[in-house]
Every structure is written in structure tokens, then in C-alpha cells.
């Protein structure tokens, strides 16, 4: 039974997301659309499962939702701060900095989510990873104390992502 489940839903979260995306695309919450979305959500992950060889086995949707809400809040707060910097701080007083973040995360998916989060939260843009994927290069718009930014990213985002992708 579990084998059948795993064969049918190689990626349960993706099945759910595809079904929801299909329903929103159609803008029509009816049984027909839900069933068709579910069919797409089964066929597409099944056919693309070959290209996801080392996908993370554990993925906590509940914690991910909490993480998304936290990031949304951070985006709004940080946006106002950065807008203030853009409007008031002259170029000569701006302290841009490169920050190197040593990564504890190992899965490419988790690192991608972390890099995306860093870029979306204004003030920081993730620029590159090292060739082994152990360090992340981040550019900060205004960082008087680069070490503090690094520690905040590690504690606030990476620690949470480590619990999400197990």
C-alpha cells in the first residue's frame, strides 16, 4: 500500500501545489476542475520523477507555511527600511558589503530556498555559491556590521530551513 502510494505520489507536496495552481488558474472551484487538477498533479510528478533523483525525503508543510508568513512579514518591514535608505542616505554614507555565509544546509533545494529568501528580503542579494556549495556569497546594501547580518540570516532563516528539509 505504501509502495503504491509512493509510486502514485512521488512528490505529494507537488501534487497538491499543482492541483491548487490549476484551480486558481481556472478561477473556478468546482468538482470537475478539482479532479482535473488532481489528475494533472498525479501525472506531472509521475512523469518528471526521473529528474528528481535526490529530492529531500522529508518536507514539513506546516513549518514551511510558518516560514513563508515570517518571510512575508520580514519583506514588508525591511522594504520600508530600505526605501528610507534609498530616499535619505547619500551615496557617500552608504556602506555596501560582501558577506560570506557558511552553509549548514546541504540539499540543493534548501539552499535555493535560502538564497531566494535572502534576495527577496530587501537589503541583501545572494550572488553566488562556492564551488562545493558550502558558502553563500551575499551582497548587502548597507551593512555597518557584516557579521551581524550573517548571524541574523543563519539564525532567522537557515535554522528554520534545517527543520523544514530533513
Amino acid at each position: 500500500m505504501t509502495r503504491l502510494f509512493n509510486w502514485l505520489f512521488p512528490h505529494p507536496a507537488m501534487t497538491l501545489i499543482l492541483a491548487i495552481v490549476w484551480i486558481i488558474l481556472q478561477n473556478d472551484l468546482s468538482y470537475g476542475m478539482a479532479v482535473f487538477g488532481l489528475i494533472l498533479g498525479i501525472i506531472i510528478p509521475r512523469m518528471t520523477a526521473v529528474w528528481w533523483p535526490d529530492r529531500p525525503s522529508g518536507f514539513k508543510i506546516g513549518k514551511m507555511t510558518a516560514y513563508v508568513i515570517l518571510v512575508m512579514w520580514d519583506i514588508m518591514v525591511a522594504n520600508v527600511q530600505v526605501a528610507w535608505i534609498v530616499l535619505t542616505r547619500p551615496n557617500s554614507k552608504l556602506r555596501p558589503a560582501w558577506i560570506i555565509i557558511p552553509l549548514d544546509l546541504r540539499q540543493p533545494e534548501a539552499i535555493t530556498v535560502l538564497a531566494g529568501t535572502i534576495t527577496l528580503t530587501p537589503g541583501t542579494v545572494s550572488a553566488d555559491v562556492s564551488n562545493t556549495g558550502h558558502y553563500l556569497l551575499v551582497h548587502a546594501l548597507d551593512a555597518p556590521d557584516p557579521d551581524a547580518v550573517r548571524d541574523e540570516i543563519k539564525q532567522r532563516y537557515e535554522a528554520r530551513l534545517k527543520e523544514i528539509f530533513v
Binding site: 486558481i24 546541504r106 531566494g116 535572502i118 542579494v125 553566488d128 562556492s130 556569497l137
Partner: protein, 128 residues
């Protein structure tokens, strides 16, 4: 005050907020003097600016029309693709040396943009 009026004002406020952040993003794009700091401005527009404009569109559609959730999808796809394009642009900046060069990572590693040899390139995440 009925619902249509509240909706109108809410949509107007969202439009103003979105327009304001888009303007700030454009100002930032113009006035910063380094390629990397300039990159920070469009990422702002992509998040709160566009987000507020889409929220305005959604409010208007629910108050005056049939209601639509398409904006949620636009936002989701935007949030997924915006960091990728920002990442590409910063990679180009590093590669063409149009910005302050980044510090070298510790333990003899290199940034993957600057890797010269194909042999050096280890796929991310396979080593631990």
C-alpha cells in the same frame, strides 16, 4: 459607507503604496553608483511594489467583478523568478568585474562563477 466604497478606497490605497514603492525602486536604480548596489532597487519593486499593485487589482475584482485569484499566482511566480534573475545579474557583475570584487571564500574554495576549469566544478550538494 457600503462595501463598494470601502473597496474603492482600499484599492486606491494599495495602488498608491504600490506606485510609491515602484517609484522608490526607480530612484534607487538611478542614484546608486555601483552595479551591485543598483541591483538592490529592482528586487524591492518586485516584492512590495508589485505585491501592492496586485492586491489592488484583487480587491477591485472582488468588489466590482467576479473575484479573481490570478493575482496570487502572479505573485507566487514572481517571488520564485525574481531571485533567479537577480542572481544571474550579480553573476554577470562578478564575472565581468563591474563591481567591487567579492572576498575569496575560506578553505581554498572558489565562487562557482569564477571557476576556470570544468574539472574543478563539483555539483552543489553532492559533497558533504
Amino acid at each position: 459607507m457600503n462595501w463598494a466604497e470601502i473597496g474603492t478606497y482600499a484599492a486606491a490605497v494599495f495602488l498608491l503604496v504600490g506606485a510609491l514603492f515602484t517609484l522608490v525602486g526607480a530612484i534607487g536604480l538611478l542614484r546608486f553608483n555601483d552595479a551591485m548596489t543598483r541591483l538592490h532597487a529592482p528586487t524591492k519593486v518586485g516584492t512590495v511594489g508589485i505585491g501592492a499593485l496586485l492586491l489592488a487589482s484583487m480587491t477591485a475584482s472582488f468588489v466590482f467583478g467576479e473575484g479573481s485569484f490570478h493575482e496570487l499566482l502572479i505573485m507566487a511566480f514572481l517571488f520564485v523568478t525574481a531571485p533567479i534573475s537577480a542572481n544571474f545579474m550579480s553573476k554577470v557583475n562578478i564575472h565581468r568585474k563591474t563591481c567591487v570584487p567579492p572576498p575569496v571564500p575560506p578553505h581554498g574554495e572558489t565562487w562557482s562563477t569564477l571557476v576556470k576549469d570544468e574539472i574543478d566544478q563539483v555539483p552543489t550538494g553532492t559533497q558533504s
